[in-house]
Amino acid sequence: MTYIAKPKLHHPTLLKNKAGYTRRDYDGAISTLCAGCGHDSISATIVQACFELDILPHRVAKLSGIGCSSKAPTYFLGGSHGFNTVHGRMPSVMTGANLANRDLIYLGVSGDGDSASIGFGQFAHVMRRGVNMTYIVMNNGVYGLTKGQFSATADRGSVSKKGVANSDSSIDMVSVAILMGATFVGRSFSGDKQQLVPLIKAAIQHRGAAFLDVISPCVAFNNHPGSTKSYDYVREHNEAVNRVDFIESRAEITTQYAPGNLQEVAQHDGSILRLRKLDEAYDPSNKGDALNRVQQAEAAGEVLTGLLYVEPMPNDLHANLNTIDAPLNTLEAKDLCPGQSALDKLNASLR
């Protein structure tokens, strides 16, 4: 926990982005999470990503469920509306919010208990529907607020702080998201800002269901030997398949990489994901291959990270429902109410 309040006055020389905001304008309230919590690092990367994308903070809606991770939205984007919903049910609230106003940026923040246990069903269905959102699971394999019970993403055989081994099979959120129809799926590590910031930026720009599984060690209950979600374990077993460079539009490529090492993925809005391939054989646009490689890595005890799957031009929920371009929450009686003349006709047909 941080006890010292940050000063509210900004240094006059603080760098502003194109939207006219400083990085500090994307901060939230002071975190009440434990010192060293991975979640705080993720919050900082979200701040960084939004700053770099020149996002207007008030055009973001941040939603979460219940749990340590779900508290996190309070600690970034203080100028955004936030919604702490109920445990495991953030996806449905985010779906409804998205239906009401397609013009906002939707950021869902959840945890492994919230999304893999109590909310597993809603997690699956929000991906199926292609809700245009960025859904981040801060994954620490453990229930923090209730003091250290295993979650459904804890690996079989991993050991709790109290020394108990987990006998249940773990749920791999990345595989589930790909199978359920998410169109942008990545995994990263809270301790790897270089990898995570561009992934979040790319996810936000993706028009469809973007999911990021971010391993985020729990310093209080899951950072000991025998844990597979500790800082040490993840650092040792992190196997990145690529590095994402996020380019907002088709700008000239200035950095040169060896041919064959680059893969470009164009998105709806003209933005380009440039993937620096670390694993030559990995093609994130192939669902079957992606699932295969994720499963192989898991069997080998590796934590596969990077952009693992992307379908660059998917239809989102609004496209599927063929809703009008104006946000539904801006429609008025003149748009919505057919009036008495329609009723007269209808009445006549009901006699």
């Binding site: 207007l56 903070p57 008030h58 055009r59 809606a61 939603l63 939205p73 309070t74 203080g78 100028g79 955004s80 509306h81 936030g82 919604f83 702490n84 919903t85 109920v86 049910r89 996806p91 449905s92 609230v93 985010m94 779906t95 409804g96 919010a97 998205n98 239906l99 009401a100 106003n101 013009d103 906002l104 069903g121 809603q122 699956a124 269905h125 529907r129 929920l317 609004h318 429902l321 063929n322 809703t323 009008i324 371009d325 539904l328 929450n329 429609l331 008025e332 009686a333 748009d335 919505l336 109410c337 057919p338 009036g339 008495q340 329609a342 009723l343 209808l346 009445n347 009901l350 006699r351």
Partner: protein, 610 residues
């Protein structure tokens, strides 16, 4: 010869059919043809939770006086289902009629000596004319409608006209249906004496400009007119047809003329938890949203309902009630979710309920509930039931006041914020308990806040302090008081004579109650009647209870749930309240109410002990 019931424009016909045999449209045709003769009818579907093959019934009350409640008893049974033959025959009133397929000879023991038999060899007629199995099945239904039209004096021209409307542009179908009708008519005219059936339909002028519509469709239309743009639902009997009707209405009325794009979004959710979650998310974000469900769905939604109550988010929940508890009687009617909805969720919660009496009020309240939810920033339950929702009911035509504007409640705009208006999400600025809200994305620097189900202060900041919590709970209570003043008022029908006895009723009990009041009046029992249309109760309900010495409470549940709410809210003497409770899953009847009140006034004498 057994005696024969004689009645003109006042009798009950019941069709016993097999589910999925195409009988529903033929039976509806029968009911509509009588309506077209200016005679009110009140039909009811009685069906099992099944798709094909099980028994299903359609009961038509022909009622010149316009009593639209279920009457009880059957004067003419159209027994088309061998499976239920015995119980169908048993249900006929003495002197009533049994219409049956006489193709195969039946033993005398299959009948009753005190009823009149009308045998028509439907199968033989059908098989002689049609070879295709499906045609045989479908046209057999039309043939019996034709036969009945002769026996009951229904004008075949009305039936033909209905065919014409139904099969507009499909002349082949029109002709084949008319032919089937005439097959039935001709056989009866040649072989039977229609005067032996003494139940007759006679032209009248008692339908007027009323419309014949299902409650679920009407309520869904109310949601269209009320400006709902988001509907999230999960299929459950008897509410599914409401969401489907909303879809159909939206297809007709809500597509942009130029682009063809939809001015609505409907999501069939994965369960009721998700459907209410989507409604809350949409309403939080400034769209009008609703869900339609039934009792078990409400059970699943309760956690979210508590969130909407405490975080103060509008939500319209239409509960088409069925028989409970648990899965209960999925295809039967009850008013047994009153307490469950009024107090849904953990902690001290209380919710607004509306009780429409028929499809017309379903339409009105559908729109009104969206206004109320926005005004009060809280869940509003529209408490209809299977009897209203899944049956065609004669009711006043739909009307919309063109000058009516949507009441979006207290929403602070970017201009308000820019002008420096003080914004505290949970600040009671108008002393009515209702704070202002902002939609997400309104203003770059002002008006954002965090919505949560935990306790918070007036400025939406998390707090677990006792006084802060109590202040908030008391404001919510004040808001509930405000609700009393703006929900639909109860409607009183005064007895012709002064009386200290009253009766309170609500929802689908309405038509049966109106009829019972007439019956009681004929017996010189004077009762003032109050139809409650909403919870919390307004002052008029308090005054009504206080000004009567005995108040009957007529409800379609076991526990007298509305009565409990009333005793709790008004603190009235429970001893002056008499519960009249009907809860076997069938719609309540005037006969039941009249008998129950009569029994209370003059208890039947006990048989002397032997």
């Amino acid at each position: 010869m057994p005696k024969a019931i004689e009645a003109v424009n006042d009798f009950v016909v019941k069709f016993a059919n097999v589910n999925g045999s195409g009988s529903a449209s033929a039976n509806e045709l029968f009911a509509r043809s009588i309506l077209r003769m200016g005679v009110p009818v009140s039909p009811r579907n009685i069906f099992p939770s099944n798709i094909q093959g099980l028994p299903t019934w359609y009961e038509v009350r022909v009622t010149e006086k316009g009593y639209l409640g279920r009457r009880g008893g059957v004067d003419l049974m159209v027994a088309m289902n061998p499976q239920t033959w015995a119980e169908d025959v048993k249900e006929i009133e003495p002197g009533g009629y049994l219409f049956y397929d006489s193709t195969k000879p039946m033993p005398q023991s299959a009948f009753r000596p005190d009823i009149n038999l009308v045998g028509v060899p439907l199968t033989a007629i059908t098989n002689a004319t049609y070879t295709d199995a499906r045609q045989r099945q479908l046209f057999k239904n039309i043939i019996y409608v034709g036969a009945l039209s002769v026996l009951l004096d229904i004008d075949p021209k009305e039936i033909t006209r209905l065919f014409g409307e139904q099969f507009k542009g499909k002349e082949k179908l029109l002709d084949s249906n008319v032919k089937a009708m005439n097959l039935g008519r001709d056989w009866v005219l040649r072989h039977l004496d229609p005067t032996e059936v003494k139940l007759k339909v006679r032209r009248a002028d008692n339908v007027g400009d009323r419309i014949f519509v299902e409650g679920n469709s009407a309520t869904a239309l109310g949601c269209v007119y009320g400006g709902a743009t988001v509907c999230a639902w999960y299929p459950i009997t008897p509410s599914s047809s409401l969401a489907e009707a909303f879809q159909a209405h939206c297809k007709r009325y809500r597509h942009d003329k130029e682009t063809g794009k939809a001015k609505y979004a409907i999501v069939q959710a994965e369960d009721e938890l998700a459907s209410i979650g989507m409604v809350i998310g949409a309403a939080w974000n400034g769209a009008r949203a609703f869900t339609a469900t039934s009792g078990p769905g409400i059970s699943l939604m309760t956690e979210f309902i508590g969130l909407a109550y405490f975080a103060e988010i509008p939500a319209v929940i239409i509960n088409v009630q069925r028989g409970g508890p648990s899965t209960g009687m999925p295809t039967r009617t009850q008013q047994a979710d009153i307490l469950g909805c009024a107090l849904a969720s953990n902690g001290d919660t209380k919710h607004v309920l509306l009780f429409p009496e028929d499809p017309a009020e379903g339409f009105e309240f559908g729109a009104a509930s969206l206004d109320l939810a926005d005004r009060l920033q809280t869940p509003v339950f529209l408490m209809t039931d299977l009897d209203i929702g899944m049956n065609h009911r004669l009711c006043k035509p739909f009307h919309w006041d063109e000058s009516r504007a949507y009441d979006r409640g207290k929403v602070m705009t970017a201009e308000d914020l820019e002008a420096g208006k003080k914004f505290g999400r949970y600040l009671d600025v108008d002393d009515d308990g209702i704070p202002f809200r902002t939609y997400p994305g309104t203003h770059p620097t002002k008006g954002s806040f965090f919505t949560r189900g935990t306790t918070k202060d007036e400025f939406a900041r998390y707090s677990e302090e006792g006084p802060v919590y109590v202040r908030n709970m008391e404001r919510l209570e004040k808001k509930f008081d405000t609700a009393k003043k703006i929900v639909p008022k109860a409607i009183e029908r005064k007895a012709k004579a002064a009386t200290k006895m009253g009766v309170i009723y609500f929802g689908s009990t309405s038509p049966a109650m109106s009829e019972a009041l007439d019956q009681l009046e004929e017996k010189n029992v004077a009762l003032d009647a109050l139809r409650v249309r909403a919870f919390p109760f307004g002052q008029e309900v308090v005054d009504f209870v206080n000004s009567h010495d005995t108040v009957y409470f007529v409800e379609q549940n076991r526990d007298g749930q509305l009565r409990m709410l009333l005793i709790d809210q008004l603190g009235v003497d429970p001893n002056k309240i008499v519960a009249i409770l009907h809860y076997d899953g069938t719609p309540i009847t005037a006969r039941f109410i009249t008998r129950a009140i009569g029994d209370h006034l003059a208890p039947p004498r006990r048989m002397a002990a032997e």
